[in-house]
Symmetry: C2
Subunit: 415 residues, 2 copies
Amino acid sequence: MHYLAAAISGEARVLLTLFIMLLAAKLMAELFERLRQPAVAGEILAGVIIGPSLLALAAPSEITDLLAEIGVIFLLFTVGLETKPAAIFKVGKRAAIVAVLGVVAPLLCGWLLMRAWGSSGIEALFVGTAMVATSVGITARVLSGMGLLDAPTARIILGAAVIDDILGLLILSMVSSMAAGSVNYLEILITAALAIGFTAFIALVGAPVVTRVAPRVEQLRSGEGIFIFGLVLCLGLSVAATYIGVAAIIGAFLAGMALAEGAEDAPKMHSQMSGVTEFLVPFFLVNIGMKLSLEVFRSPSVIMLCALVTLIAIATKLLGCGLGALNLGVRRAAQIGMGMVPRGEVGIIVAQIGLSLAVIGPEIYGVVLFMAVATTVIAPPFLKLLYANEAAAHDEIGPPDAGGIVTAKDLAKIA
Amino acid sequence: MHYLAAAISGEARVLLTLFIMLLAAKLMAELFERLRQPAVAGEILAGVIIGPSLLALAAPSEITDLLAEIGVIFLLFTVGLETKPAAIFKVGKRAAIVAVLGVVAPLLCGWLLMRAWGSSGIEALFVGTAMVATSVGITARVLSGMGLLDAPTARIILGAAVIDDILGLLILSMVSSMAAGSVNYLEILITAALAIGFTAFIALVGAPVVTRVAPRVEQLRSGEGIFIFGLVLCLGLSVAATYIGVAAIIGAFLAGMALAEGAEDAPKMHSQMSGVTEFLVPFFLVNIGMKLSLEVFRSPSVIMLCALVTLIAIATKLLGCGLGALNLGVRRAAQIGMGMVPRGEVGIIVAQIGLSLAVIGPEIYGVVLFMAVATTVIAPPFLKLLYANEAAAHDEIGPPDAGGIVTAKDLAKIA
């Protein structure tokens, strides 16, 4: 049946890849939970294991990238759903200080390190830029898994991640145009105005508008009104964010925040949304792991550079962001600093742009990729340790109530 | 920022396409619900409207195909979840008769029509084969939307669709090898044995095994145990089905059926699964609509052929399948016949194989595509009419309870 085989093999191979990714993610998550380690780290390592660098059972592709992107978009959307705008505004100033220090420190130290290593000025700047961008998805996943999204430091991390992304965009714009030989300040100004305007507009106007629209949506005939409305809003603002140049996840987070109050009485929506994220987030995590290339480890000097870049990437966020939150106490400052450590897919995207502009070579690209994956695997266990007290206190109050859903079991308990 | 623009545009364009597909689907679904028409037909028409043949806002691609495929896989999985194996076995003989008559009639009449039109023997056979394959996803969506998956005729349709798919596979194998010049009977025998063996094995052994495994899964630490187990089982059996040559949706349906008893006490799982399907099924429906090409309508004779092929495709399933169920009464026979009419993505896949083997020309390919989409849009309104009585009776008993979830509102009612 080779005619059929040819026709179906494309589809079958893609489905097989997805199956392997999901299975590996869930097995490693289970293993890590039993070892009392965060499932997130297990799922990223699952990607490393099944990916091209080890077993080569699956490889990242345009399709896994898209599923990963949709996964992290909905992850940030559900995080936004748990976040009232006022809670973020309240920590706004603190978040801004954390973000700025957390941008300056890695940019400066990354640049210095690469210059000392012998890189050209522009390559050093690009590596520094790749070290700026925090991927808040990983931290959000760890904290939501522990039921701690409402911790004060979690709010600061989320607010700082939004500001960090905008600052990262502007630095990337500037460095990219320097790489092309001339800096167009007007363009950068427009990018800045658009990014800040979009974020401020949605953050300020989004919630009141959505809260007014949501009850009408509930009356639509096509059922599941508020859930569908949430999906459309989330995708719509993610697309808008991407066109403006901000990461899609920032749009998704703002969409969730805008809907946070309107969806408060919609337990079914939270449960349905958790179905979407539980299915798609593993692709996001495994896909990051699959991108790790161990080919880069061909010479001891490169291995050394990987270690140094990763170490600096961790230290600069930990100390930079931590410094901005130091008056909250050392432990909270460390929570915030560690929460900003994962670079994940954002660092990978910056590295890809650098490679496509030919300002960083394939070797340094491999180093940045290693840093992006390594920071992402290393942070979750430390986050879990740093938040252990809060988690214990939280468990005493009672576990999170599964998205507000009252199940038949709860009913039985009441009766 | 054209460097950035280039880097982000691919991602942004894909997200934009998905956003347009979802928005169009939901707007048309709402419009059709208000007109008391089935939402399914609205969502397929949404695809026709935004697709290349009309507004050209979006086009089918490898990525939309994949999302569509995952969507229909999980749709059939949730249908399987509502279907106990015993209920299908009970109607097995009836379903087999319905399937066989519903395969013979379109194959024969399609072949005759195309021979009369002047096609070569092998082209006529391929068109007949494309007219054989029922896409049960559309009917399943309409019936589950009406809460009628447990109607006796729904069981017969589901059982017949499984048998129909296996027969369709065997005919496609045979016709494909005829197109290549020699029929390898041994290969076809192996295909038959594999397809039947796989289906029978999962149908018979799946449920007892899963029912024994499911309680252990519930005790896993990584949470959401039964939901994740369902996702993995669904994807795994879909992949297995594809490798054997049966449609992935058959594997997904069998996976759902195997889990039907094990998941009975898992209301949260049903709700989470409905989140996945509500998000992904629109891509399945819109993607079918987007595949319609109106380019084919360049000559009156082709328009005539489109009309004839579509008419024969509808009449042969309606009468063929209906004949097999006639002793249940005319209305029930008509329900079953109409339920088997949509050819959807299965017909499209057969046409694509024919095109890739160069046994059908691009013009006839366009005609078959039109038939596949047209049967899929036409059937739902008639299905809704034919099932109106059952739906009314069902509503008197009470609407479906949203997947068994007890919401805070229900609690309030009780109190």
